[in-house]
């Protein structure tokens, strides 16, 4: 069953179209990797998918409703690029950040034991329970991204949207992070991931969408490696970096 249907979507900043005529469905439990060169509209497409932007034409249907007016906020977990710059000085703790996952469920009332349990379980699930009282701005990049995942889990999100989450994260933490994503996907959480490292995407994703304003490829990773879609999207001049895990 498709939880997300992107149908012939076009979006432009002013006169410059950044996403044009894109049609993609995302099934429940899928792990979709979004790849494409810099400035190819990946982030914009992701924002359209989770309703942060409204398409100029075409439709995005998320959990059965138009995405931009969807009221399913608690089902969506968003993990931005490493956020060191914006959250660095805010004296907020990891637990306070993860508690935000409960806010869509409980915006003004007292936190119940169910709320607190969900927060504790989420912290434990991503293995940062021991960091709960630390300032989030003082964590390493990998730990911080785990805190954002924990926030999504506390929200009981069944869709995770990640925009290049491991930029600036060291190699070891990055492998552990993708291992965690893989496990969460096995548990049934749908994942949409923007990632510039093609090797990671072909290793972990169940579906790949290759974008450069228009959609160049949509299918499984094996077929993707066999086609010229990547070269076409990147303008044919890029040699593909393959990773063997």
């Amino acid at each position: 069953m498709a939880i997300l249907e992107v149908s012939d979507v076009t979006f432009a900043y002013g006169d410059a179209p950044v996403v044009e005529g894109v049609t993609v469905d995302v099934e429940a439990g899928e792990f979709l990797g979004l790849v494409g060169p810099n400035g190819s509209g990946k982030t914009t497409l992701l924002e359209l998918m989770i309703g942060l932007r409204r398409p100029d034409s075409g439709t995005v249907t998320l959990f059965g409703d138009p995405a931009h007016e969807s009221s399913h906020g608690e089902r969506i977990g968003f993990v931005p690029q490493d956020v060191t710059n914006t959250t660095g000085e805010m004296p907020i703790t990891v637990r306070e950040a993860v508690r935000m996952g409960r806010y869509p469920h409980n915006l003004t009332g007292r936190f119940t034991s169910a709320d607190r349990d969900a927060v504790d379980a989420a912290l434990a699930r991503v293995d940062i329970a021991d960091l709960a009282d630390r300032r989030i701005g003082r964590l390493s990049g990998g730990q911080r991204q785990r805190a954002f995942i924990a926030r999504a889990l506390a929200s009981e999100a069944d869709l995770l949207a990640l925009d290049e989450p491991t930029v600036g994260v060291d190699a070891e933490s990055r492998d552990a992070f993708y291992h965690l994503l893989h496990e969460l996907n096995q548990d049934g959480i749908t994942i949409i991931l923007i990632e510039h490292d093609i090797g990671i995407v072909t290793t972990h994703a169940s579906e790949i969408a290759c974008l450069n304003r228009e959609l160049f490829f949509h299918g499984d990773p094996e077929a993707f490696v066999d086609t010229d879609a990547l070269a076409d999207a990147y303008g044919g001049a890029t040699s593909v970096l393959e990773h063997h895990h």
Binding site: I76, F78, P91, I92, E96, A97, Y103, R135, Q143
Partner: protein
């Protein structure tokens, strides 16, 4: 909310009910607050506390110390510290409108209320410029700041200098402007700010921490941004009487900056309020004793607290580093924390 607030205040100030308002103010400020401070003066032997004039000044100081850092905590961590300054200048235009109307037509509009109205409108204008016009945040702020100050200066000069006498008190702040009515207005504004900020605490924290994440989670970010801007306008107008237009933004920023080393957002807000209380009460006292401007004295004390907090953190970090080095040299096998650890 603003409309409701105004209609409420409007009713309060209707001629027939002035007597009731006066009685309530007398009870709250003289009977309740006055008696408490009289007792305190007797117990401590501090004479200043028993003067009615200073009792109102201390009440205003406490209100400002609570609401300034409370709202400022959300502004500083979004790098919106300058919005306070912008709204203060639009509040100045509002004061000028009030004084102008009072001088030109023989109606009585408390300048604080016209300031509240103009600053609230300016707050929404700034947010709209940022959201829709695509203007950069600091450009929008600069336009509204200078624009409203221009309106103020034009209105003041339009009355042949007749109202420029009264304007000085608002520009630089003064303990003398805290009349019983102004203290009452500040008390009501403070109560509104505390209640609204408490009820909207979670969405405001979420939007401050991660605006995009908050939108993805389904929060109406635009509405909360507007709420924050209007709350800022209310704080600025309330604090303006003592702090003055030019210095009022300090109470939104300096105590919050001083409390930044505290771990945990909620605790840091509490610490910022404590820093604010220390700054305003000491500042008001110094202002009375040495007959100097209250706003300036408060800001200088606040900066002193900020500097002391920074130095304290630096010393503690240095101490921790030395202790760490000692421990490492004693047991070289001990692992080093990769991220340096927190200061508190």
């Amino acid at each position: 909310m603003i409309a409701l607030l105004f209609s409420g205040l409007g009713q309060l100030l209707a001629p027939g009910q002035v007597g009731t308002v006066d009685r309530i103010l007398r009870f709250l400020l003289d009977d309740l607050w006055g008696t408490v401070l009289d007792l305190l003066a007797e117990l401590t032997g501090i004479g200043i506390l028993s003067s009615a004039f200073m009792q109102r000044a201390y009440l205003a100081a406490i209100c400002i110390a609570v609401i300034g850092p409370l709202v400022g905590s959300f502004l500083v961590h979004r790098e919106m510290a300058m919005i306070g300054d912008t709204l203060a200048h639009s509040a100045f235009a509002g004061v000028a409108v009030g004084l102008f109307v009072n001088a030109a037509y023989s109606v009585v509009v408390p300048p604080l209320l016209s300031a509240l109205f103009v600053a609230a409108v300016a707050a929404l204008l700034v947010q709209t410029l940022v959201d829709y016009a695509g203007a950069y945040r600091d450009t929008s702020l600069a336009i509204v700041l200078t624009g409203s100050f221009a309106v103020g200066s034009v209105l003041i000069t339009a009355t042949d200098g007749g109202i420029s006498v009264g304007i000085n008190a608002y520009l630089f702040g003064s303990l003398a402007t805290v009349s019983r009515l102004n203290a009452g207005i500040l008390l009501v504004l403070s109560a509104v700010v505390v209640v609204v900020a408490t009820v909207a605490y979670r969405p405001l924290v979420y939007v401050t921490f991660d605006e995009v994440g908050a939108r993805a989670a389904g929060l109406n970010v635009t509405r909360y941004n507007q709420l924050l801007a209007v709350l800022t306008a209310v704080v600025v107008v309330g604090a303006m009487q003592i702090m003055g237009v030019i210095l009022v933004a300090a109470m939104l920023v300096i105590p919050v900056a001083a409390a930044t080393p505290v771990r945990g957002f909620k605790r840091s807000v509490g610490a910022a309020v404590c820093a604010g209380l220390l700054a305003t009460t000491i500042g008001v006292t110094l202002s009375y004793i040495y007959d100097i401007a209250a706003g300036g004295a408060i800001v200088l004390v606040a900066i002193g607290i900020y500097a002391a907090a920074k130095v304290g953190v630096r010393l503690r970090r240095e101490q921790a580093r030395r202790k760490h080095n000692r421990d490492v040299s004693r047991s070289p096998s001990k692992t080093v924390k990769p991220d340096g650890g927190d200061d508190e």
